[in-house]
């Protein structure tokens, strides 16, 4: 084989360039910490990375949705529990009022306490979370229960929240259901506030029949509150399960993404030092190759 000198020089340059490029690639992996920077380096992997990143951002978002839904539900549950506490107290007082040993002034005193509890009940019904009324349906910026007699200004709209792709949960408990406005929960009974007011009136009038009826109504209202609490509880457990799912998926997706995207440093550094060696070898060989010529030996 004939070798021209230009060819020798060219191949020295080509080899040095080739090794320098490969060394630079290995070093880019180390310094960027990423296996690939552009989609063209590995299109299939790029597709995986992009979809995992989208998945991760979805997980983040659904976690946020769940956290917000969860605090709304807990707050609602608290309010219903408070409502129950008030009802329990009213029940005790009503039972006490039914006792024949009580004089009219005693009953009036009980009536006054229940009147105060009625005010407390209105406060519970108007509880807010972050400026939004818990029991107002979709009209949650306006105070839902106002006036005497108390009227409902909210609506029966739902509060749908997406807790997983395509999975929606109604986290709202509207005022009609919670406080039996227009017999929404217990058709035979008036709303909670009217019910309390009627007990107050019955105590003042010493109307035993009405008081007995009131007691029965309170029992039904307590049962219904417990129903609501159970429902909220089951929604919270649905959410908890969704959250657990998300957390688990999150760990998996983060691992997958890291696998696809992050540089294997041990390998990258090994590559780099191997390529460094090849690069130096090509420099050394090149330097020796281009030095010798017949000229060195002709005198």
């Amino acid at each position: 084989m004939r070798v021209s000198h230009r060819f020798m020089y060219d191949s020295v340059i080509n080899n040095i360039m080739f090794n320098a490029t490969r060394l630079a690639e290995a070093n880019q992996v180390i310094s960027s910490g990423k296996q690939i920077v552009n989609a063209s380096q590995d299109p299939a992997k790029a597709s995986v990375i992009l979809s995992l990143r989208t998945r991760l951002s979805e997980i983040e978002q659904y976690s946020k949705n769940i956290a917000e839904s969860s605090s709304w539900l807990s707050e609602t549950e608290n309010a219903i529990a408070s409502k129950n506490d008030v009802l329990q107290r009213v029940r005790v007082l009503t039972v006490q009022g039914l006792n024949d040993t009580n004089s009219q002034p005693d009953r009036n005193a009980i009536a006054t306490e229940i009147e105060q509890l009625l005010g407390g009940m209105v406060a519970v019904s108007n509880r807010q979370l972050a400026g939004k009324f818990l029991f107002a349906g979709q009209n949650f910026l306006a105070t839902p229960f106002t006036g005497t007699p108390v009227t409902y200004n909210g609506d029966t709209g739902t509060m749908m929240r997406e807790i997983a792709p395509g999975v929606q949960l109604d986290i709202g408990t509207n005022g009609e259901t919670a406080f039996n406005v227009a017999g929404a929960s217990i058709a035979s009974d008036p709303d909670t506030f009217t019910m309390l007011q009627e007990i107050v009136d019955a105590l003042r009038a010493s109307d035993g029949t009405a008081l007995n009826e009131g007691l029965a109504r309170i029992d039904r209202a307590i049962d219904q509150s417990l129903d609501i609490q159970t429902m909220i509880g089951s929604k919270l457990s649905i959410i908890d399960r969704a959250k657990a799912d998300l957390d688990e998926t999150n760990i998996r997706v983060v691992a997958l993404l890291s696998n696809a995207e992050d540089a294997d440093l041990a390998k990258a550094i090994t590559d780099s030092s191997m390529r460094q060696a090849s690069y130096e070898a090509s420099l050394g060989v090149g330097a020796r190759m281009i030095q010798t010529s017949l000229l060195d030996f002709l005198r």
Binding site: M1, R2, V3, S4, H5, R6, F7, Y9, D10, S11, N14, I36, V37, N38, A39, S40, Q41, D42, P43, A44, A46, S47, I49, L50, S51, R53, T54, S57, E58, E60, Q61, Y62, K64, N65, E68, S69, K132, A136, G137, Q138, N139, F140, L141, D155, G157, M159, M160, R161, E162, P165, G166, Q168, G172, S293, L294, L295, L298
Partner: protein
């Protein structure tokens, strides 16, 4: 009867021949680093003794010395043709690779600042609004993330359009180059023909012409045919671009409307059939690759605009406004967030009912849009479609890079094969130098020896007794 001076003549012919050989060596050594130079070789031949019918019975035949019969280039025209073919294919893919590389740099789909990440943030903003449908802050955040999407789409569309303009400019300048080279080849053909008619071989002119052909072939695939008297004819497709001392121009005037340059023959207006070379790559990038991504971006933008507006315009804003579009525009270049919304974010419609700040039906419908197969004939979601643009561009670029590396290996291999034949090896030249130098010295010594012989004859003969 051989002349007494015959020996001198022989030695003189040797002196002259080896001097020519040394000159040729000098030229070789001088051009040892010139990539377009082909090594030249001196062909020697012994001068045959004159014979005729009258002297057919001469007993001893002594030749007349040495002469240079030709100085030839070492060149393999088959290898040249092969190399040019592969070089023009390399040119095709190099152009495509360059263009797609720029496009990927701009699109940067894989970057965290790329459009896919922006889209993730946009959907999240709708989620946040669905969680707090009464919030103006969430609306503002949504409008901002939407603005990012539209800006990225606008910028990408703009850059791709710019890329096409750039490609057209490159096509224009490459065609100018092609025309110049063609006329230079035609000029060289004329000179070469002249020298050939005189019976000499214009090696260096032919080298020049070969170098031009190499450049021409990397611009556009050509077919080279022998044109007689050492001339060549060059064809693109079935039409000649160089025929003898004539060259034919290619016209690449840009279209007034689109700015796209169409290549036609200036003499008859027929299209130029370019199948390979840089120009082919530029045309492919301009007509096939870049428009594909442009189309996809436009499809994406148009569908996003339609689907979003259909939901948004029937919803109600916080201020009970309705009938507002979310996006304005129709494609990737002019998509923008409706200015009514950027000025008054409270008009973003999350509710399906008037005066219901707690209603998030429209926001939920937007979220549902994300999972819906809206694109590519209802087979892909917005996210998937957007991803496919990044991946398509990446795959195309990856493929062109593979082709470039394959072709450059091939051309490097062929070039080294050619370099084996045409390249100058200094050691070889130096060895010949020593050889010719010695031969020259010997011939010079022969002159001296002959001179001494003649001296004996002329000055010392017939002087007996003097």
């Amino acid at each position: 009867m051989i002349s007494g001076f015959h020996g001198l003549n022989i030695a003189t012919s040797a002196l002259m021949a080896y001097q020519r050989a040394m000159d040729t060596l000098s030229q070789n050594v001088a051009n040892s680093a010139n990539p377009n130079y082909s090594r030249q070789r001196v062909d020697f031949a012994a001068i045959v003794p004159a014979t005729s019918d009258m002297h057919s019975t001469v007993e001893w035949q002594i030749g007349g010395g040495i002469e240079v019969t030709a100085i030839t280039r070492s060149r393999d025209s088959f290898l040249d043709a092969q190399l040019r073919l592969e070089n023009s294919r390399l040119g095709t893919w190099t152009s495509v690779q360059d263009s797609l590389g720029r496009a990927e740099g701009v699109f940067s789909g894989l970057s965290e600042a790329g459009i896919s990440s922006a889209m993730d943030k946009y959907w999240s903003a709708w989620h946040d609004l669905a969680n707090q449908p009464d919030s103006t802050a969430m609306r503002r955040q949504l409008v901002e993330s939407a603005w990012t999407i539209s800006t990225l789409l606008n910028r990408n569309a703009e850059e791709l359009a710019q890329e096409r303009t750039g490609l057209n400019d490159q096509i224009g300048s490459t065609v100018t180059d092609i025309n110049t080279i063609a006329s230079q080849i035609a000029n060289l053909n004329a000179k070469i023909r002249m020298v050939s008619i005189e019976g000499a071989t214009p090696n260096d002119l032919m080298d020049q012409r070969d170098a031009l052909l190499d450049t021409l072939a990397s611009h556009t695939g050509v077919i080279v045919r022998d044109g007689g008297l050492s001339q060549i004819n060059v064809f693109i497709g079935s039409k000649a671009i160089v025929r003898g001392d004539l060259s034919y121009e290619i016209d690449a005037t840009p279209d007034i409307l689109t700015g796209d340059r169409a290549l036609t023959w200036a003499n008859d207006g027929s299209p130029v059939a370019i199948t390979s070379g840089q120009v082919r790559g530029l045309l492919d990038a301009r007509d096939t690759f870049i428009p594909r991504y442009q189309q996809k971006l436009d499809d994406f933008a148009a569908q996003l605009i339609d689907s979003t507006n259909a939901i948004h315009s029937v919803g109600y804003g916080l201020d009970d406004s309705t009938g507002n579009d979310f996006w304005s525009g129709t494609n990737a270049s002019d998509i923008a967030v409706n200015t009514v919304l950027t000025d008054n974010p409270e008009k973003v419609a999350a509710s399906s009912l008037i005066s219901r700040p707690g209603n998030n039906d429209q926001a939920l419908a937007m979220i549902a849009l994300r999972q819906q197969n809206s694109m590519a004939g209802a087979t892909e979601t917005f996210d998937q479609f957007l991803r496919s643009i990044t991946v398509d561009l990446g795959s195309d670029l990856h493929f062109s890079e593979t082709m470039v590396s394959h072709q450059s290996n091939l051309t490097q291999h062929l070039e080294s094969r050619r370099e084996m034949i045409t390249g100058v090896n200094i050691d070889e030249e130096l060895t010949h130098m020593v050889q010719f130098q010695r031969s020259f010295q010997a011939a010079a010594r022969m002159v001296t020896a002959q001179d001494e012989l003649l001296d004996t004859l002329i000055n010392r003969l017939g002087v007996v007794g003097r």
